[in-house]
Structure formats: structure tokens, C-alpha cells
């Protein structure tokens, strides 16, 4: 019961804080693709893989008082900062859920921009295709982002480094 909520709380605990909804979406997707167990289902949206279930579950965690969501105004745009509350911490302690250690992948992702994670998650979304077709697909569906060849290269290296299955 509430295992899916507990898994997300464990993620937030290991991440310490997450800045940006888009970043959060892409991080969970990349973790899923790396073999970590999250049940949220994704489909392709404007900025790559997106999970409505994840959005609603995070909203639930905020409404339940397990997660803090701070709305911050930055140079012309709004961003959201997520941190775990004490109540979220004690919920996690009392739930007998087995949590996987994701800290090394989370740390690597947290260092990157949401634009970069958007690229990585989009590439992973098409990972049933050969490498050149993945790149062609990214250029088609993300034409407005104008990803460079260097960014593509960096994204492949990143995928290799985090050992995506």
C-alpha cells in the first residue's frame, strides 16, 4: 500500500532537493530506464517523455505534507523547488519498503541542466532504434531545441556512464 508514493519519497530523500518540474520528470524516466523500479507510466509529450501519473503523485505528496513545493520566480519564468518534509521522512522510516540506492545516478543527473536531461530521456525513449536513427529522430521531434552534435555525443557518453539497460 502506497508503495509508489514511498518510492518517490525515497527518491526525494536521496536527491536532497530537485529544482524544476521538467527536471524531475526526466530524472525519474532516466532512472526507470536505468532499471530502477518506478511504476509511473510515460508517454511522449512536448519536452520528451512525460508522466501524468508522476505529476499527480507529486501533487499528492505535496497535499499530504510529505513534500515541500516552493514556487520561485526566476528571470521571467517560474520554477519549482522540491524538498522532503519531516513528515515525509518519518513516513519513509515507518514504511517497510525496500529502497534502492540511486544516489550515484541522481547525483550525476542533478549536475546536468533540464535541457540536457530532456535530450537524454528523448534518446532513451527511442532506444529500440539504431544509434543513427535515434539521432535523426531526436532532430525531427526536437527541431526547435537545435541540439548540437557535441550535445548528442555528451548524451551518449552520459547514457553509457549511468549504465542504462
Amino acid at each position: 500500500m502506497l508503495e509508489d508514493h514511498a518510492k518517490l519519497i525515497a527518491f526525494f530523500k536521496q536527491a536532497n532537493e530537485i529544482v524544476g518540474r521538467k527536471k524531475l520528470q526526466k530524472m525519474i524516466y532516466i532512472l526507470k530506464k536505468s532499471g530502477y523500479h518506478f511504476s509511473e507510466r510515460y508517454s511522449f509529450h512536448m519536452y520528451g517523455p512525460y508522466s501524468e501519473e508522476l505529476s499527480t503523485r507529486v501533487e499528492e505528496l505535496c497535499n499530504l505534507g510529505f513534500l515541500n513545493e516552493n514556487r520561485e520566480k526566476e528571470k521571467g519564468y517560474v520554477q519549482y523547488r522540491y524538498t522532503l518534509t519531516d513528515s515525509g521522512e518519518s513516513f519513509l522510516k515507518e514504511t517497510d519498503i525496500h529502497t534502492q540506492d540511486m544516489t550515484h545516478v541522481i547525483f550525476k543527473m542533478n549536475e546536468k541542466s533540464s535541457r540536457f536531461l530532456e535530450l537524454v530521456s528523448t534518446m532513451l525513449y527511442f532506444n529500440n532504434l539504431p544509434k543513427d536513427e535515434v539521432e535523426a529522430k531526436v532532430k525531427t521531434v526536437k527541431s526547435k531545441q537545435n541540439y548540437t552534435d557535441d550535445e548528442m555525443k555528451e548524451a551518449w557518453e552520459f547514457i553509457e556512464k549511468i549504465n542504462v539497460h
Binding site: M1, L2, D4, H5, R21, K22, Q25, S39, R41, S43, F44, H45, M46, Y47, Y50, E52, E53, S55, T56, R57, E59, E60, N63, L64, G65, F66, V78, S87, F91, E94, T95, Y125, F126, K137, T140, V141, S143
Partner: protein
């Protein structure tokens, strides 16, 4: 004449209670409707277990798919003289509309959750794999199946076509709101679709709504809001979903523990073993699932037989409002009391949350992931709907989460009155 443009010798019409008639003139569409994979949708209910709450809700994904096709056909007819619309996209859009739900399985939501499947993957496989649908699409041209799959999965470069099938005001939603309202018999859920279609305009990346049509769109958003709370999130339907999920979980658990079923569950084995082929998937429809629910009532396993009996006879779990934020310690205690009283909490106690449901509300696009509904103002400027509409502003972005605790009340009642566990369980559940 190329197959793409081939017309039937006379127009075919399907009588439809929502759109009155569904018109088919294209040979391609007619051929797709006749494929076994499309006909299979007759055996998948559009609203899963909702018929146990609203007895009229027996309509299928077949009805809905035809409905989405018909709406898109009407939109394209309206667009045909507008320069922003490319008439060469007509057949691609119609096929994507017709086939968008092709991969849904029996009781999709519970089924996909337990067996870790995604109907979108199967939609893609049916369109691209060795199927009759694929053969029809290939006759149009070699790239056509992939183009249709890309539109359905929103990975097509043609964003306008994608937005007609999948956006916050698309043919899919318009059909299911009207259809679900009609078949459930509820009075909300109705809106003036004809008006919306008349004020819809194609732009480069999405269809937008002329400002003069704002009130029709407000009505659509209100319908969506009311249908979510009154029909889709109905607590009794959710109780049936909980039991259905438990049936699949129990059957899987028994199989993994080498339980000998009286009737080998051959249609489920590849699902239990996580190696489902497209053929296995297509064979398992709701008729087959119901057959097993009937048969499993005679199994030796008391939990499986009891859950199936509950589902078939609509003897559902009771529920109370539950706030996991304030009550999670009680939940842990409740679980322990169930176990101590000899009731298997894995199967007879469950928290169901709004995030477990496959429906959403209108969002203004604040997380930049979902295309907002855009109004085209008289001067041509585009504005997001909730900035102009007080009604939409009032209902979007509000608290939209909910949790309920489901339990088998009859099993608790059957415990001896002097049982300490029973007393504690009732105290927690009923205060």
C-alpha cells in the same frame, strides 16, 4: 486510382447514438474497420469496471474509436478550405484517429498495472507488426504504418495532426466525454461539440479556438471536470478496480508458487512469465478474462475464488475517506490487525489514490509539458484559455487529489465480537 484515395462505391454509415451517423467513404478506413485487430475492440469495454456503478456503461472501445474517427473527419472537412491545413495529411489523421486505442487490453488499467504492460506499446506493435492492420496500412505506402504510429505516439513531426488526436481539446477527449455521459446516463458531460468544431482553426503546431467560441470550450472544460469527479473517480468503480487488480495479483502469485489450477490458465501464462507475444496479447480480451473469473470461483484457493465471486456478483469492498498524511501510522496498525485476525491484508485492504487513475484535469501548461488550449483573439494574438476565462481559471490548478481506504467489511464482521483485533479494526475504520 491509388489505394490512398480509393472511394467506396457508396458511402457506408454506422448508426451512432452520440454522433447520429459515422460516415465512411474511404476504402482504407473501411478495410481497417474490418480487420480482426479492430473488431477485437468490440470485446474491450471503454470504461472498464464503471458498468458496475452505472449499468449503462457497457460501451466498447470499438464505439469510441469510430467516434473519434468521425469527429476528426468532421474537423478535416471544416479545415479543407483553410490554407494552414494540408489536405495531404487527411488520411494519416483519419487512420491515427481510428486506430489510436488499438492496443488496449482487457480492463486495461488494472491489467497493465499488475503485468507491467503499456497499451501504447501494443498499439505500436499492432500497427507495425505482422497484422491485418499493418497489411492495410502498407498498401497505402511502405512508410505509412510508421507515420500513423508516430502520430498516435506523439513523436511525429506533424504537431498539428498530433494535436487533433491528442491534446487538451482533442477528438479523443471530446468523444469519450460525450459517449461516457450518454452511456452512463449522467446529466453532466454534455457540451456543444458542433460549436467547438466550427470555431477550431489549424495553426502551424496545433489547432486553436476562435475567441468567439470560448464559452463552448468553457462548457467542455466544465464537463470534463464534472465527469472526472462524478464518473471516472467514482468510489464504487474504484472498489471494483481494486478487486480486479487483486484477482490478477492473486492468480499471478499462485502461478509463481506452483499452485495447480484446476483449469490451466493458458491465456495468462505468458503474462505471468513476462514474455507476452503480440498473438498472446490479442487473444486475451474481456470475454476470455470473464471466463476465467467464472471458472476460478470453483478453485481450491479461497482467496482467488472469493475475489472472483465478489467481482462477478458485485459484492464490492467498502471504503472510507483516508488521509495518508495524517493517518499512515493507523494504516500500519490496521494492516497488522488484519494479519493478526487472519485476514490477508495484501488482498483485503488497499489504499487507492487519484494518481492511480488514468484521467487528468485541464492544466494551463504550467509545467510546459502539455499544450494549453489557446484562444485566437480578434487581433490574431493567441492567449491561454484560463487567462481569459474566469470559469476555467477557477477550476484549473485546484487541489485534485483524493485517497480512499478499501476493505472487505464482511470479513471483519465475521470475526468474533470479543476479538480485540476486530474492535481495533472497527475503531480505526469507523472512528
Amino acid at each position: 486510382m491509388a489505394y490512398l484515395n480509393e472511394q467506396l462505391s457508396e458511402e457506408k454509415v454506422f448508426k451512432d447514438p452520440v454522433h447520429r451517423y459515422v460516415h465512411v467513404r474511404d476504402q482504407v478506413i473501411w478495410d481497417l474497420i474490418g480487420t480482426p485487430e479492430f473488431q477485437r475492440l468490440r470485446r474491450i469495454k471503454q470504461l472498464g469496471t464503471t458498468y458496475l456503478t452505472f449499468h449503462g456503461a457497457e460501451h466498447s472501445r470499438f464505439n469510441h474509436s469510430l467516434g473519434v474517427y468521425e469527429i476528426v473527419r468532421r474537423i478535416i472537412d471544416n479545415f479543407s478550405e483553410i490554407p494552414e491545413w494540408n489536405q495531404e495529411d487527411r488520411m494519416l489523421t483519419l487512420c491515427a484517429a481510428l486506430l489510436h486505442d488499438l492496443g488496449h487490453g482487457p480492463f486495461s488499467h488494472s491489467f497493465e498495472k499488475v503485468f507491467d504492460l503499456d497499451h501504447e506499446d501494443f498499439t505500436r506493435e499492432i500497427i507495425l507488426g505482422e497484422t491485418e492492420v499493418n497489411k492495410v496500412l502498407l498498401k497505402v505506402d511502405a512508410q505509412f504504418p510508421q507515420k500513423v504510429a508516430d502520430v498516435i505516439h506523439k513523436t511525429s513531426e506533424n504537431k498539428l495532426v498530433v494535436s487533433l488526436i491528442s491534446s487538451q481539446i482533442d477528438a479523443d477527449r471530446m468523444d469519450y466525454l460525450l459517449r461516457d455521459a450518454y452511456y452512463t446516463g449522467v446529466s453532466y458531460g454534455h457540451f456543444d461539440m458542433e460549436r467547438i468544431l466550427r470555431v477550431m482553426r489549424p495553426m502551424e503546431d496545433q489547432a486553436v479556438i476562435k475567441y468567439s467560441g470560448m464559452h463552448a470550450v468553457e462548457d467542455y472544460i466544465m464537463s470534463r471536470y464534472q465527469m472526472y469527479w462524478q464518473v471516472y473517480f467514482h468510489p464504487v468503480t474504484r472498489s471494483a478496480e481494486v478487486i480486479l487488480t487483486k484477482i490478477f495479483e492473486r492468480a499471478k502469485d499462485l502461478y509463481e508458487n506452483n499452485y495447480e489450477f484446476k483449469l490451466p490458465p493458458i491465456h495468462f501464462i505468458s503474462f505471468f512469465e513476462k514474455n507476452v507475444s503480440l498473438n498472446d496479447y490479442l487473444k486475451l480480451d474481456e470475454n476470455i478474462a470473464f471466463y476465467y473469473f467464472q471458472i476460478w470461483q470453483d478453485e481450491n484457493d479461497t482467496i482467488l475464488k472469493d475475489l472472483c465471486r465478489r467481482f462477478v456478483n458485485r459484492d464490492l469492498f467498502k471504503y472510507v475517506e483516508f488521509n495518508p498524511g495524517a493517518q499512515y501510522r493507523e494504516l500500519i496498525e490496521l494492516k497488522e490487525s488484519f494479519i493478526n485476525a487472519g485476514i490477508d491484508a495484501r488482498y483485503y485492504l488497499e489504499v487507492d489514490s487519484s494518481s492511480d487513475l488514468p484521467y487528468d484535469f485541464y492544466r494551463q501548461g504550467e509545467d510546459e509539458e502539455r499544450l494549453p488550449i489557446l484562444l485566437q483573439m480578434p487581433d490574431g494574438e493567441l492567449k491561454e484559455l484560463s487567462r481569459e476565462s474566469d470559469i476555467v481559471e477557477a477550476i484549473s490548478g485546484k487541489k485534485r487529489t483524493d485517497h480512499k481506504l478499501y476493505f472487505a467489511e464482511d470479513l471483519i464482521e465475521q470475526l468474533p465480537d470479543d476479538s480485540e483485533h476486530k474492535k481495533r479494526i472497527l475503531e480505526i475504520l469507523k472512528g
